[in-house]
């Protein structure tokens, strides 16, 4: 990407081969790093630097933004001026800088998406010395993902939950789980108040049935409506996703979701290095940080590659069915057209793309 089309201010630390007009030689020009004239160009939409700074903000948030940026800037400058710090430290500082001022993923062009993914991969490499594979694959045309859950088949074995946690790099300390399996008494109907979500005995238990809930990827998602920073949105293939780098952690979406589909990182998520799933997607199972929302993405890293989500693959009873709703010959369409299906809280108009049915 040329520096002209770049939507954030570049430092280009220690990169002598690439000369940029905006590149700051730290202290060599008068006024310091912050005072350069930024040529953003004639963009129709705001992105990157603009999104961060060209907004009305209160004194408090302005100070917060400034402090955060200054801290990074100061770090970058001290590393770039330092004679001791190596190329890798400089590169890391450069990446941190560019990551700090990158825009909302939703508004990025394909090149910008690829650039941020490359930075994240490189950053992981610099920090851990290990490499991973991160995708920024977009939604495919003619695809709308849908899910069906057979209540009469689920036996409560919880293989789906285990597979989900491993696939999606969920925090092991807080035992975060996207899927909940509810054990319900026969004859009581869907009574979530009396359901046992943490059963501790052999399954299936006599006189009980099991049903799973997770993010239903509503077609009219209330969580998206309430997000004050548009860090969560509905993709064209129907997946409701979160940009973990744009999320401010206000948890409005968590409150707005009528299905308990969203999870919050109260602490820094930790996954043992050996257990990290290295096949990642920017919108999916890449490592999260403290204070951001996350949730089921129908395993975007798998589903956009044609695979089934991890829970579907792990289920030993075949209770979980996943597929393309727009394909008239898909199995999910057959289920919707031939079984007696229903969704939870249909009257809310959220249009979940997650149907339940019985044999």
């Amino acid at each position: 990407m040329s520096s002209k089309s770049k939507k954030w201010f570049s430092l280009n630390l220690g990169k002598k081969d690439k000369h940029s007009e905006n590149g700051c030689g730290c202290g060599k020009t008068s006024g310091g790093c912050g005072s350069h004239d930024l040529t953003i160009g004639e963009e129709t939409k705001k992105d990157g630097f603009d999104q961060v700074f060209d907004v009305k903000m209160s004194r408090r948030t302005a100070f917060k933004q400034l402090t955060a940026s200054l801290a990074i800037g100061a770090g970058a400058i001290s590393t770039s001026c330092s004679m001791i710090s190596g190329d890798e430290t400089k590169e890391q500082a450069q990446i941190d800088w560019e990551e700090q001022f990158k825009g909302n993923y939703k508004l990025m062009t394909d090149e910008e998406k690829k650039a941020t993914v490359d930075r994240l991969v490189r950053s992981y490499q610099l920090r851990t010395g290990k490499t991973l594979n991160m995708s920024s694959k977009n939604a495919e045309p003619d695809v709308l993902f849908g899910y069906a859950f057979n209540i009469s088949k689920c036996q409560g074995y919880m293989d789906c939950v285990t597979a989900c946690v491993e696939e999606n790099n969920q925090d092991r300390n807080s035992q975060m789980q996207y899927i909940r399996i509810h054990e319900m008494k026969d004859g009581k109907g869907f009574n979530f108040n009396e359901a046992d979500d943490n059963y501790y005995h052999e399954v299936p238990a006599e006189g009980h049935f099991y049903m799973g809930t997770q993010c239903f990827h509503c077609d009219n998602p209330p969580c998206v409506e309430v997000c004050p920073v548009q860090a969560t949105w509905r993709e064209d293939d129907g997946l409701v996703v979160v940009d973990y780098d744009w999320c401010v952690g206000c948890r409005y979406c968590m409150a707005a979701c009528p299905y308990d589909g969203r999870r919050f990182n109260w602490s820094k998520p930790e996954v043992p290095e050996a257990e990290v799933n290295k096949n990642q997607h920017y919108l999916g199972n890449r490592m999260r940080k403290k204070g951001v929302m996350e949730k089921c993405t129908f395993c975007v890293q798998r589903s956009r590659a044609g695979k089934n989500p991890a829970c579907v693959e792990a289920c030993p009873t075949g209770a979980r069915i996943f597929g393309n709703l727009l394909d008239p010959n898909s199995t999910i369409r057959w289920v919707l057209e031939n079984k007696k299906v229903f969704r939870l809280k249909e009257d809310l108009g959220t249009e979940p793309k997650f149907w339940y049915f019985m044999d």
């Binding site: 003619d142 943490n198 590659a305 695979k307 075949g318 727009l326």
Partner: protein, 207 residues
């Protein structure tokens, strides 16, 4: 007078603008089902495929009714196939007690003894094939034809994709497990067992 017409123009413009801006937020469909039906009519197929994920699994293609899909090949996975390698003599002679007993690991726990015994499914005269209720041969690779003699509802669901488990991914081509990949034909029910995990945090709270 001029002022008045200008005012009207502003009102009209605001009215039109309001309509346009409100329109953006509403989907043109009443619900997701309408949308699926309408947009599915112009379905052109997808670029992703499950074929890569099916590599290394030997599959056979079957067509049942309106459905054509792949199921795993079976015969090469039966440990003691061909059966006639041991069953050189008719079953009646083998059962006389002159020979050592075989198939210790098989105990029939499928329907009751009035309904089923070994030769309900196996052909006593041709051990290498299965036998339908009316005496026709059924290949081991297509053993679902044996099961669907009784389990007709499950068969319909399996053909459509509501029963059973997909192999590979959601993307075409469709590949599915066949009956005996999940159910032991001699003991078809699923056992109860401990869940794969439980919440230790909650367990601590219980103690």
């Amino acid at each position: 007078m001029h002022m008045n017409s200008f005012k009207w123009f502003v009102f009209a413009a605001a009215f039109v603008l309001c309509f346009l801006s409100c329109k953006q937020h509403h989907d043109e469909y009443h619900g997701v089902m309408d949308k699926i039906e309408a947009e599915g009519k112009q379905y052109h197929g997808v670029s992703v495929s499950s074929e890569d994920y099916l590599q290394g699994i030997e599959m056979i293609e079957i067509t049942e009714g309106d459905h054509t899909f792949l199921i795993p090949e079976r015969k090469s996975h039966i440990k003691s196939f061909k059966c006639t390698e041991c069953h050189t003599k008719p079953l009646k002679e083998l059962q006389k007690g002159l020979y050592k007993k075989a198939h210790w690991d098989i105990e029939l726990d499928h329907a009751n003894s009035n309904t089923m015994n070994c030769i309900t499914c196996h052909d006593a005269n041709n051990m290498d094939a299965l036998r339908s209720l009316t005496g026709n041969n059924i290949d081991f690779n297509r053993s679902y034809n044996l099961c669907n003699q009784c389990h007709t509802k499950q068969f319909e669901d399996w053909k459509g994709g509501a029963h059973g488990k997909r192999i590979g991914g959601w993307a075409p081509p469709r590949a599915a497990m066949t009956c005996v990949n999940c159910h032991n034909p001699h003991k078809p029910h699923f056992e109860s067992r401990w869940p794969a995990r439980y919440n230790t945090q909650k367990v601590k709270e219980r103690e």
